[in-house]
């Protein structure tokens, strides 16, 4: 480095810098949880229920305890006070949650295939797996409840939860909906359903827990996403002081929402390490991953929607049922609650009402997955809008263009009833963004080409969807910035890295605020000791909240440095400034921050939530004889607020879209009528290979968020939100000449063939035209 006193540095935010994470990862030098070994470590294997619903009369572990290499086998009755050790929820509580929280091992009843009933600990993982097969249970099978919309008399999962309805969320806005319906020219009414699918990260979960007798401290390797919350929960369940628990985040092979929540294993493995005083390691296999990691998405959403002849949207009513699975897990009712919040979308309704019910089912519990509830609500609303457009004989984008909230109406506030926070859509230009997307897609040309191909007998469709991505949920994030003796700076953050590129993007933000080169800044998100609290990596909040906390901490660091620097230089505080890595006086004397040993911590707090606008276009062709749907093109345009690193933003948007297209076309966590999961390997749960994906074309605009110091609105989820809706509308458009109505996802070949055969029975209420009032 030169010692020039005045340096001009170009800001690094906005530059497409390749990631600092990559070098280790491309060399195979990453350190994922499975790569960590401890001397004397034991290996745990979870024994899981093989039936969906049963009274658990006894768990027989004797034979397994006698098996070679086995150290111990534990069932529910072996853990003292287990009935009180219920995993708490972190977000979105509901009315009857207290009856439906999960204990880490089943006690007297099992409620889904995959529910843990025992744990085997052995000296190697092969022997643990052998012994696990010798654990067996006496069960009295009960009829499973698998219906998201159960009739009266359906089997109850919990006696204290009538009708299996564990929570209900309602919103209401504006004018009376019935009155709006009476005065409508067009009214459509349809019931849509979204199938169960989820994240399937490439790395299954794993944990390695060790208890140190000397210090009395428990260390757990493997947690991610919400480490500080998980630390508090674990300390509470183990009855340890929180400062006795250290959670360490290794490299993580994909998160996408489900990974990193507190699961039964997050208690069991540390508990065993404390009991046995030996390190205990658990590595989930892929089958377990499919029945143990949160599922998501499964909702039935009924929509009635009213409009005028000119396309003016008036109001809607929607009722949703979310198949929540067997227990209320840490993300509570976020999925149905967000579905309700996102039903209105970017349109100025004169009135609406929504009601979403969380329904317990004998399936793997359901939690958040990239775009939770937002994907499902967008699917139902945008499908209904296309039905309205069809009734009106209007081109679908034109219906949206006529209705999208205009930029001069922003910020646009939607009150949603007593006790609910209003929704505020604060910035953007929604109609212009949609037009930009349609131009990029060459929409008019697409329609011409479609007409020509239809002439040739092809089934080709174009689908459009508009939506909001809700990002940047508070309440806070912490950061601590240290000026290191070697002249570098370390930013400690409470957010997590699940593979997004957090270390690179946050380093860019911190470097700019400090006024130093980005290669002198390092971001550390690794453990719960380095920073006292954090909220975590979800809701597209890592860059906006983590970055804002770093900016505050950097400003505070400069204050500290000015005071100390002035002291060292023998001048008043007001006579010095911080220039990059030095405190300097007006006459050129200086002292390096590295020599001052300063650090500062800060907390960024905000209750602001960003609703950023996005839109998507899908072009599909359907092979009628086989039912195969091919997505030929997929384009999305999103308002990311501020693209801190365009390379990473593009990766998030394109990758999110690819993941969503897999969900729309291939992936299905199906069950048989006895509650047996049918997708338990990558041969049944088909995530897309590169052969099934089009080249995704993502673009973005930047209307900075007013809710955080970075201006970012988030990019992690935007790409996935419109996928299901745009593909559904495109499939519906392709098959419009066949007279079918598309109501249900996924768009697998067998489902499409069933649709064309007419065996996807229409619901009782048909789209109908009502006279002008």
């Amino acid at each position: 480095m030169t010692t020039a006193l005045v340096r001009t540095r170009a800001p690094s935010v906005g530059l497409a810098l390749p990631r600092v994470e990559d070098d280790r990862l491309v060399r195979g030098d990453g350190c994922y949880v499975g790569d960590i070994h401890r001397p004397g470590q034991l290996h745990a294997r979870i024994v899981r229920s093989q039936v969906a619903h049963a009274n658990l009369l006894a768990v027989h572990v004797e034979e397994a305890r006698a098996a070679p290499g086995v150290v111990t086998v534990v069932s529910g009755s072996d853990i003292p006070g287990l009935s009180e050790k219920r995993i708490p929820i972190r977000l979105s509580p509901g009315q009857l949650d207290r009856f439906a929280l999960q204990t880490p091992l089943a006690l007297d009843r099992v409620r889904y295939v995959g529910e843990p009933i025992a744990v085997v600990v052995a000296v190697d993982p092969y022997l643990a797996e052998d012994a696990a097969e010798a654990v067996w249970a006496d069960v009295e099978e009960l009829a499973p409840q698998l219906d998201p919309v159960p009739g009266h008399g359906a089997p109850l999962l919990f006696d204290m939860v009538p009708d299996n309805a564990v929570a209900t969320f309602e919103t209401a806005h504006g004018e009376d909906v019935d009155d709006l319906f009476r005065h409508a020219d067009v009214l459509v009414h349809e019931r849509f359903s979204v199938h169960r699918h989820s994240a399937a990260p490439m790395e299954p979960r794993g944990l390695l827990a060790e208890f140190d007798d000397d210090s009395g401290r428990l260390t757990v390797h493997g947690p991610t996403k919400v480490k500080h919350f998980n630390k508090r929960v674990l300390a509470d369940l183990l009855e340890l002081a929180p400062d006795r628990v250290l959670l360490v985040e290794p490299d993580v092979g994909g998160g996408f929402g489900p990974r990193g929540e507190f699961y039964p294993e997050d208690f069991l493995i540390p508990w065993l390490a404390v009991q046995l005083r030996r390190p205990v390691k658990w590595m989930e296999d892929r089958l377990e991953n499919f029945v143990a990691l949160n599922h998501s998405r499964e909702q039935v959403i009924e929509v009635a929607m009213a409009a005028r002849h000119d396309g003016t949207l008036l109001g809607f009513r929607s009722t949703g049922w979310c198949s929540l699975g067997a227990y209320v897990r840490t993300t509570g009712h976020t999925v149905p609650r967000l579905a309700g919040i996102h039903m209105p979308g970017p349109y100025p309704w004169r009135g609406f009402s929504t009601k979403f019910v969380s329904v317990l089912t004998n399936k793997t519990p359901l939690g958040t997955y990239r775009g939770p509830g937002e994907v499902e609500a967008t699917f139902a609303r945008e499908r209904a809008l296309d039905l309205v457009a069809a009734e009106l004989g209007m081109d679908p984008p034109e219906l949206r263009r006529r209705n999208l909230i205009r930029s001069d109406a922003l910020p646009y506030r939607v009150d949603t009833g007593a006790g609910s926070e209003p929704l505020v859509y604060d910035s953007g230009d929604f109609p212009a963004a949609l037009d930009q997307l349609l131009v990029a897609a060459e929409y008019e040309e697409l329609r011409r080409s479609q007409a020509a191909r239809r002439q040739d007998g092809e089934a080709v469709g174009i689908g459009v969807a508009c939506f909001f991505d809700q990002g940047g949920i508070g309440p806070f994030e912490q950061a601590r910035v240290v000026a290191e003796p070697d002249g570098t700076f370390t930013g400690y953050v409470g957010v997590s890295s699940i593979g997004q590129g957090v270390q690179t993007a946050l380093a860019q933000i911190l470097a700019d605020e400090l006024g130093v080169d980005v290669d002198r800044v390092r971001i550390d998100h690794r453990d719960t000791d380095s920073i006292s609290d954090g909220t975590g990596a979800f809701a597209s909040r890592t860059t906006s909240f983590g970055g804002s906390a770093l900016i505050l901490a950097a400003r505070k660091l400069h204050e500290v440095a000015r005071a100390r620097g002035a002291d060292v230089l023998g001048v008043n505080d007001g006579e010095v400034t911080v220039e990059g890595d030095e405190v300097v006086t007006g006459n050129g004397r200086s002292v390096a921050l590295a020599a001052l040993g300063c650090e500062a911590a800060a907390t960024f707090e905000s209750t602001h939530v960003d609703f950023s606008f996005g839109s998507a276009v899908a072009v599909v062709s359907v092979d009628r004889p086989t039912g195969k749907v091919t997505v030929e093109r997929y384009l999305g345009h999103y308002d990311v607020g501020r693209a801190v690193n365009p390379l990473i933003v593009r990766g998030q948007l394109d990758g999110g879209a690819a993941q969503g297209l897999g969900g729309a076309l291939l992936e299905d966590l199906a069950y048989d009528d006895q509650g047996q999961p049918l997708s338990t390997s990558f041969m049944d749960y088909m995530i897309p290979t590169l052969c099934e994906l089009p080249t995704v074309q993502s673009s973005w605009s930047e209307h900075p968020s007013s809710g955080n110091l970075v201006g970012a609105k988030g990019a992690g989820e935007a790409g996935i939100i419109g996928t299901l809706a745009a593909v559904a509308n495109a499939v519906a458009d392709a098959l419009a000449p066949d007279g079918v109505i598309v109501r249900s996802s996924p768009f697998t070949a067998d489902r499409i063939r069933a649709l064309l055969r007419g065996s996807d029975a229409p619901m009782s209420v048909q789209p109908s035209q009502v006279g002008a009032g």
Binding site: P18, R19, E21, D22, D23, V26, R27, G28, D29, G30, C31, G34, D35, H37, P39, G40, Q41, P68, G69, T72, D78, V123, D124, Y126, L127, A199, P201, M202, E203, P204, D251, V252, G253, G254, G255, F256, Q275, L276, R277, R278, P279, R286, G499, Q500, G501, G651, G655, A657, A658, Q659, S681, F682, M683, I687, T689, L690, C691, L693, T695, V696
Partner: protein, 183 residues
């Protein structure tokens, strides 16, 4: 607490921290020796252990990752006698006498291999878990078929799964590396 857990052992058996020793169980063991990234490696391993487990647990080559353990995802792809194989579908003892190459042996002493560098430049990895498998798969292809067409490259790369990127940057990275390797 169960009766059998009242008196947990208070100290762990002593083992070297870096290299776990031979398994304690009753498994039948066999000697296996193979060249690992050019170095001869001799191990005594349980006959039922997969090559992936032998590499990861006994040879310290943890860059080879396990995503499904039944041969679908390709995260565990390594080169055995220069052919890409799923190391989760092969027993360790079957590698006896072979040349095994893993991600740890790809970089030259003076820097990254072109594939490693282009994956970085093209943002062809996010979480990085599938990356070693993709690089080994592409390396096996480009060494044997330096002039592979884009269609051929896409066909081969469709053997492995990635959940983060949507694959387009992976294809770009492999094409860019191919151009560099042919020079």
């Amino acid at each position: 607490m169960g009766a059998e857990m009242v008196s947990p052992p208070r100290s762990a058996p002593t083992r070297a921290p870096e290299e776990p020793g031979e398994p304690e169980g009753p498994d039948e063991l066999a000697d296996v020796s193979f060249s690992l990234n050019g170095s001869m490696t001799a191990l005594r391993v349980p006959v039922r252990w997969t090559l992936a487990d032998v590499l990861r647990e006994r040879a310290g080559a943890t860059g080879t990752h396990l995503g499904c353990e039944h041969g679908v995802c390709g995260a565990c792809t390594v080169l055995v006698d220069d052919q890409p194989v799923r190391s989760c579908l092969m027993l360790g003892v079957q590698a006896d006498g072979s040349s095994v190459r893993t991600i740890e042996g790809v970089a030259a002493s003076d820097g990254l291999h072109p594939l490693q560098r282009t994956f970085h430049e093209q943002h062809a990895l996010q979480c990085g878990y599938c990356t070693p498998g993709f690089i080994m798969l592409a390396l096996g292809l480009l060494e044997r078929e330096p002039d592979a067409s884009q269609e051929r490259i896409r066909d081969v790369l469709s053997s492995n799964l990635c959940r983060c990127t949507g694959y387009a940057p992976i294809v770009r990275a492999v094409m860019a590396a191919q151009a560099e390797m042919r020079r």
